[in-house]
């Protein structure tokens, strides 16, 4: 009987072993290669992986991030009206203290900014060791990554009081205050300019660099913008003067994918498919209050606005809430969108001069912006107002005028929330109704999933 038992066990083991042998040596591998996507390891260690990730970074910025930057702060600063009844959009438009940290549009904005920082950092870290790429081209790729990181940081700090300078997969990203974030952005811009001087190779232009992106002028334009935001006025003037105003640096789109993000998202009547299926429309008078509305500005307004006037979808039809279709830089599905509008350099100079007490120089620049005199080669020229500035030459009046000019010239660039705060335009008050031409938030709350998972998340602003 004992013998039987042993035979029994031996037999069982033999069958088990044979089944495993068949299983383990068969062709059905346990580590299949994914044919749909590249693993991170391959993306960050091979020549093609680095090239393609750097192209992906530029696409992500031009499509996903710019779309969030134009739509969400554009709604909060009253440039855009909401035409649909989705709760996230109507909540965003209403703004105020109750704007929830669960609002999906704020999450998308925050997340896309973080994703640009993450992809840029990966490229900055990984590219130096991929020796299959020549030294000079590697510098060019790192320059592109630094520029995109700097641009993301400069936008981040316009919408949130603090920003994570670096992403952290361990969910413990550390936040830095405004001055530190801008200093980091400026460091990245310097690094980008230094590296691009060696890295602008034919290989980079053929495989990586977008045909629309002019690196040197974009780096300098963002340097001017960051210095102005940081309060370094002379440095802002110097940087603004170093930008060639005739150069077009632009996000490019095509008719199939990716399409122009304004054309896709904002009511653009008479342009093919996206005739009505959008959640956003332009506000008549560009969302400016009556005291900033000049009838003589019809040329510049009509650059952006179509002729169709529509009452809002829901609610009382106060004139400020009438909608117009959008033309501007989104009239065609393959039209490019400026990465920065060169006229901003003159506005930066004017503002810095006001802050430095040089009012006469500021007025001269304001009139250059209004009348476009002496700016024959200006890229992305949207037209002129025939009349010069006639208001008082006080700091307050000039800052108001600069805000008005920025609101028109830089309509739908995502800059207005920051502009209004920086230029001292009155904002929303806690517990008070918000007028229909006032921005509805000063800063956004940090998204709930950030607060739930990262203990370093700073406290939310009151409004």
């Amino acid at each position: 009987m004992r013998k039987n038992c042993i035979r029994h066990i031996i037999f069982s083991v033999a069958i088990a072993v044979s089944i495993f042998s068949v299983a383990l040596f068969s062709s059905c591998t346990l580590d299949p290669v994914n044919p749909n996507a590249v693993t991170e390891d391959k993306a960050l260690t091979t020549r093609d992986g680095i090239f393609n990730t750097a192209v992906g970074l530029q696409r992500f910025f031009a499509v996903d991030l710019m779309s969030a930057i134009i739509r969400t702060p554009g709604t909060t600063s009253r440039e855009l009206a909401i035409t649909r009844t989705f709760i996230n959009l109507t909540d965003l438009e209403a703004g105020g203290q109750t704007l929830s940290n669960e609002n999906i549009d704020i999450l998308v904005l925050f997340q896309n900014l973080c994703r640009v920082i993450e992809i840029s950092n990966r490229l900055i870290e990984a590219t130096p060791s991929v020796t299959a790429i020549p030294d000079s081209t590697r510098d060019g790729i790192i320059a592109i990554a630094h520029l995109h990181k700097a641009m993301a940081l400069s936008y981040f700090i316009q919408y949130f009081e603090q920003a994570p300078i670096n992403t952290d997969r361990g969910e413990r990203a550390v936040y830095a205050p405004r001055a530190q974030v801008l200093a980091e952005a400026l460091r990245s811009l310097d690094e980008a300019e230094r590296r691009f001087a060696r890295g602008n190779t034919a290989q980079l232009r053929a495989n990586v660099l977008s045909s629309g992106l002019n690196m040197i002028n974009t780096i300098r334009a963002f340097r001017a913008r960051c210095h102005l935001m940081a309060g370094n006025y002379q440095a802002a003037i110097d940087a603004a003067n170093s930008v060639d105003l005739s150069v077009r640096s632009q996000f490019v789109y095509d008719a199939v994918s990716p399409q122009n993000i304004m054309w896709t998202n904002i009511l653009t009547l008479g342009a093919g498919a996206n005739t009505a299926a959008t959640s956003y429309a332009c506000r008549d008078s560009l969302g400016l209050p009556p005291q900033f509305y000049e009838p003589a500005d019809s040329v510049r307004r009509n650059f952006f606005l179509g002729s169709t006037l529509r009452p809002p979808a829901v609610g009382a039809a106060a004139p400020q809430f009438h909608h117009r279709n959008h033309l501007g830089f989104g009239a065609l599905n393959n039209a490019p969108i400026p990465i920065y509008r060169p006229i901003e350099m003159i506005l930066i100079r004017a503002e810095a001069n006001v802050r430095l007490g040089r009012f006469a120089e500021a007025v001269a620049d304001i009139n250059r912006v209004r009348q476009k005199t002496g700016l024959t080669n200006l890229a992305f020229n949207i037209g002129a107002n025939p009349n010069p500035y006639t208001g008082p030459q006080t700091e307050r009046a000039l800052l108001d005028e600069i805000y008005k000019q920025r609101a028109i010239e830089l309509y739908l660039t995502g800059l207005r929330m920051e502009d209004a705060r920086r230029l001292g335009i009155p904002g929303p008050q806690p517990g008070q109704p918000i007028p229909s031409t006032t921005r509805t938030r000063n800063y956004y709350p940090y998204p709930r999933r950030e607060r739930d998972n990262n203990p370093n998340t700073p406290p939310d602003p009151t409004i």
Partner: protein
């Protein structure tokens, strides 16, 4: 497509079989909306064609060995192995702005999306099970199962699942048979089991990696990291189950009862959780918690009437389950239903966690002067979130009555589900968007204009309108349903027909519930393992009446 099976029995007590199966199929789907329709998004037409092709290989090998080791000890050994391999390719293409009278995607002005996928999974399994039977009434079984799945990383891929069970047929003991009890209780079996199990296919083939998906920009090839952060060390969920039960029959098998109590503990709950956005990602697969399920199942079968002509069988199946989440990671985890269903420590899995009514100390809902319910705020003015409903039922039962009288047979099935709450998105969105009857009360002036959405809610945060008070849309989803009623007439040897049956079957005939939507049983977010009862413009389960005729020649 086909399978082959080999059976051998080379000597007494031993048999083995091997099954090799190969299956391949293709599914095609087309959507064709001609231009000039009244839809909002696709007024210029929409064409889509998608095809999915699936290949599956299954190999199954089993062997059994039975032996009487002595006159009181019997042994059965089972050993087996399986291999599953599946591979799916999907290709979809769609276009808008189509050419009239043309249904192909290529006839569109812009082709929007192309998608190809090639997803493969390999799963191996092997088990050995040993059963000993003692004196034909005491049975002891032990088993070990090993599974290997390609969807998990190398270190977590091999999983062992042991199991033991025992049963004792008390009624086979001589003392029982001879006792008076033995005449009443004809059959009595006690059973108990302890086992481990796990799910090896709950995630996609490459979900554990940080994948960079292909795209393009400016005519150049591009890749971008997906929003799902890789998690190479995730483990399969593992469940420990303890089960005890009694099976008994009474009065010459006229009454049968089966009682089972179970206690399941699912550890390493595997879900896609939201991660801090400052990671640069949006979600990550993670083992985030433990779920406990305890419950009782009762099956009662009776035959109250049994004569030559008439037979009445009644079956009652009653079950309840208590579910609790413990030991979660990262606070409250949103697990579905637009983030309203959550995993919260100490609460059942999938409770609704969101904004609630403002209530006084006695729990009465507070209203604005014009009769609109108010929302509860925190002292700092933000919206208070709390548990406002539980989609897990208190108990469920199925009652089946079968009557047969001569050539007629009648069957009635009633399903009962009590103590479950449903989040009614259909009414919430429909009434807000003024397309359901609820909005009529606002139009007719019986409710305040701001009842659904208060236009001043930004400055009156306590009174946003019920659209923004999620508790308002939580409803009692309990029901009693007449699931099926059927009447058949059986006939034989008529008009050359050997036998036949004609009858009427009604399904989902009536539902007794207090639910305001169409059907409290709907679940728009059905997903394995996570109860997420929510109704969101789903098609209700249809009531059907069918006539059946069966003929055998």
């Amino acid at each position: 497509m086909g399978s082959a099976r080999l059976d051998i029995a080379p000597f007494e007590g031993f048999s083995a079989d091997a099954t090799f199966g190969y299956d391949t199929y293709t599914q095609n789907g087309t959507i064709s909306i001609p231009p000039g329709n009244t839809s909002f998004d696709f007024r210029n037409g929409f064409q889509r064609f998608a095809t999915q092709s699936v290949r599956q290989v299954n190999i199954d090998v089993n062997a059994r060995y039975f032996r009487e080791l002595s006159d009181w000890l019997k042994s059965t050994t089972l050993i087996g192995g399986t291999l599953q391999y599946d591979e799916t390719d999907i290709l979809g293409s769609q276009t808008i702005n189509t050419t009239p009278n043309v249904e192909i995607v290529g006839g569109g002005v812009t082709t929007i999306a192309n998608e190809t996928r090639d997803v493969m999974r390999t799963i191996y399994g092997a088990f050995i099970q040993q059963t000993f039977g003692l004196y034909d009434r005491f049975y002891l079984t032990g088993a070990i199962r090993m599974d290997v799945s390609s969807v998990f990383g190398k270190d977590e891929r091999f999983q062992f699942f042991p199991k033991v069970s025992a049963s004792y047929v008390l009624s086979d003991e001589a003392f029982w048979k001879e006792s008076a009890l033995g005449n009443t209780i004809n059959n009595l079996k006690l059973r108990a089991a302890l086992g481990y199990s796990g799910g090896l296919t709950v995630i996609g083939a490459f979900d554990r990696f940080t994948n960079y998906a292909p795209t393009n920009y400016d005519g150049k090839a591009a890749i971008l990291p997906s929003a799902l952060l890789g998690s190479p060390n995730i483990r399969p969920e593992r469940q420990r189950e303890v089960e005890v039960g009694i099976d008994a029959t009474f009065l010459g098998d006229r009454i049968g009862i089966e009682l089972t109590y179970y206690d399941k503990l699912l550890t390493d709950l595997l879900i896609r959780r939201n991660v801090a956005a400052s990671t640069g990602f949006s979600q990550q697969l993670d083992n985030v918690g433990t779920v406990s399920n305890r419950g009782l199942e009762v099956l009662l079968r009776t035959t109250p009437v049994q004569t030559n002509d008439l037979r009445w069988d009644a079956t009652v199946n009653f079950f309840f389950n208590r579910n609790e989440v413990v030991d979660t990671k990262g606070g409250i985890i949103a697990i579905g239903v637009y983030g309203f269903a959550s995993a919260i420590n100490g609460q059942p899995l999938g409770v609704f966690y969101s904004s609630a009514y403002k209530r006084d100390a006695n729990g009465n809902i507070q209203f604005s002067p014009d009769g609109v319910p108010l929302r509860q705020l925190n002292p700092d003015g933000s919206v208070q979130l709390k548990v406002i409903g539980d989609p897990n039922p208190d108990w469920q039962a199925t009652v089946i009555n079968e009557l047969s009288w001569r050539e007629f047979s009648f069957r009635l099935q009633i399903d009962i589900l009590q103590g479950r709450q449903v989040l009614n998105f259909t009414n919430r969105n429909g009434e807000q968007n003024q397309v359901l009857a609820g909005y009529r009360e606002v139009l007719e002036g019986r409710r305040a204009p701001g009842y659904y959405t208060n236009p001043r809610f930004a400055v009156e945060p306590e009174n946003p309108g019920v659209f923004r008070i999620i508790e308002h849309w939580i409803e009692d989803g309990s029901y009693v349903k007449i699931r099926e009623a059927s009447l058949f007439y059986n006939f034989s040897n008529i008009f050359g027909i050997r036998s036949g049956q004609i009858g009427l079957i009604g399904r989902n005939l009536f539902s007794f519930d207090r639910y305001n939507g169409y059907d409290p049983e709907l679940n728009a977010f059905a997903r394995q393992g996570v109860p997420t009862g929510a109704d969101d413009t789903e098609t209700p389960i249809p009531r059907s009446l069918s006539l059946a005729l069966r003929i055998n020649f």
